[in-house]
Symmetry: C2
DNA sequence: CATTTACAATTGTATGACAAATCATAGTAA
DNA sequence: TTACTATGATTTGTCATACAATTGTAAATG
């Protein structure tokens, strides 16, 4: 992987991005002026401005003469950007955020499985199967549980052969990581989970879109139902 | 709305972004060096570099010493970025791209309708209703057909009260525009289309998630089926 | 032949100066 | 008073120049 701090500007982007996501700078707030950022980070205006431009490109801030640098409304944020997702992860994800992730996964993953059953190439099938093997090894502790799980979901997405679904790789990865953090699954994958994944794989391999869709849907619905319950309990107090 | 070319860097971002999307610079290709871009656009290195950083932030290019500026693999592109979507629209969208858009809409919109039925606020309902009125007016030629249509779909997305779904506003808007371009719907919305939208609205208003989901699903499936047929015809030749 | 060294090309960073935009204020005229 | 105007101050926008850091290529060296 690429180091995310290849240069000064990238480092500043990360620092500021994190601070925006964790709420140090809230929507509508002004960030320090270019001059102040220069002194704070002890860098030149060149680097500072490049950082500001990058955050602008990701939809987090706007920067205008005299008006300064401001955090824009969150509906403009590029929530599917890799960096933004990582900053979200570094923040303090709550149950509501987890639910938002799960709601979109419920929309995406079954359809992705269906598309995979229709459009997967030989190599795509192999990738999914490889991920399954990793998951099986993970149940024996021979491989990393979480990585294998993420691997499986991503290989299905890629098998859809739809660039938009593939671009959601980062989203799914972050969703899974947050999910892991909440469920505290420090141990191996359960047999039931593994079997559910095998089912999805089989339907994709046999080119049964509807069956693949249904299999993926069940998994997602169960997970979402759990979180919905947790939230209901939380709100009833 | 904000002019997208508030300053030099933004203009360059637009020019280069368009060229990447229309294939002038293909994946793996090198863009002109900073120095060359400066002379080509007749601007300073400052502006050039800021533009390069913005495109980097959108995942389109990478820029390294001695290696130059290169278009990175399309799986890293932020396809859900407003600008990127607009550049895609400016390119030459083909039937396959339209299908990719429709496939994701099929995943997103029914679930969005379901969520809207569960989580919509009073104001959200009003927004959807307002969009419906615009559509009715559009059938009489009293309002812009396409705008009203886009308005409806976006208001449903927003009613989901899920930031990730809301962020897909731009995606849906672009999808609809491409759809319009292909179907050549220069005239008014059909009565059937309008009725379908009314159905979705009613189910959302009555807080019937599953019914809202189904109603939205049917619309999407029909559209996708048409395009799948067109592609099948095309490929059989 | 392998290894090291030196060079060249390209981006990375810093600085200083001035331009342009825009908000706030004070001043001016009706 | 009120509305408009002029002015000034603040902040980002742009430019030019210089040098540092990175890295691929080729020459020199053992």
């Amino acid at each position: 992987m690429e180091p995310s701090h290849r240069n000064l500007a990238h480092q500043v982007v990360h620092e500021l991005g994190k601070k925006i996501m964790e709420g140090t700078y809230k929507v509508g707030d002004s960030l320090p002026s270019e001059a102040d950022l220069c002194t704070q980070f002890n860098i030149s205006r060149t680097a500072t401005r490049e950082a500001v431009k990058m955050l602008t490109a990701k939809g987090l801030i706007s920067s205008r003469p005299r008006q300064g640098i401001k955090v824009v409304d969150s509906k403009y944020w590029n929530l599917f950007d890799v960096d933004v997702l990582n900053w979200i992860l570094l923040g303090k994800p709550d149950l509501y955020l987890l639910r938002h992730f799960l709601q979109l996964r419920l929309a995406i993953e079954p359809e992705a499985a269906s598309l995979a059953a229709q459009f997967a190439q030989e190599s795509d099938i192999e990738n999914i199967e490889h991920a399954l093997v990793r998951m099986k090894n993970a149940t024996n502790g021979q491989d990393d549980t979480h990585e294998a799980d993420i691997d499986f979901h991503q290989s299905v997405l890629c098998a859809s052969n739809n660039p938009f679904f593939i671009q959601l790789n980062n989203f799914i990865e972050t969703a899974l990581k947050i999910n892991i953090r909440f469920t505290n699954r420090l141990v191996a994958v359960t047999v039931e989970e593994y079997q559910a994944h095998v089912d999805i794989f089989e339907h994709i391999k046999n080119k049964e879109p509807q069956a693949a869709f249904d299999a993926a849907l069940i998994t997602q619905k169960e997970t979402l139902a759990i979180v919905n319950n947790q939230i209901a309990v939380l709100e009833s107090k």
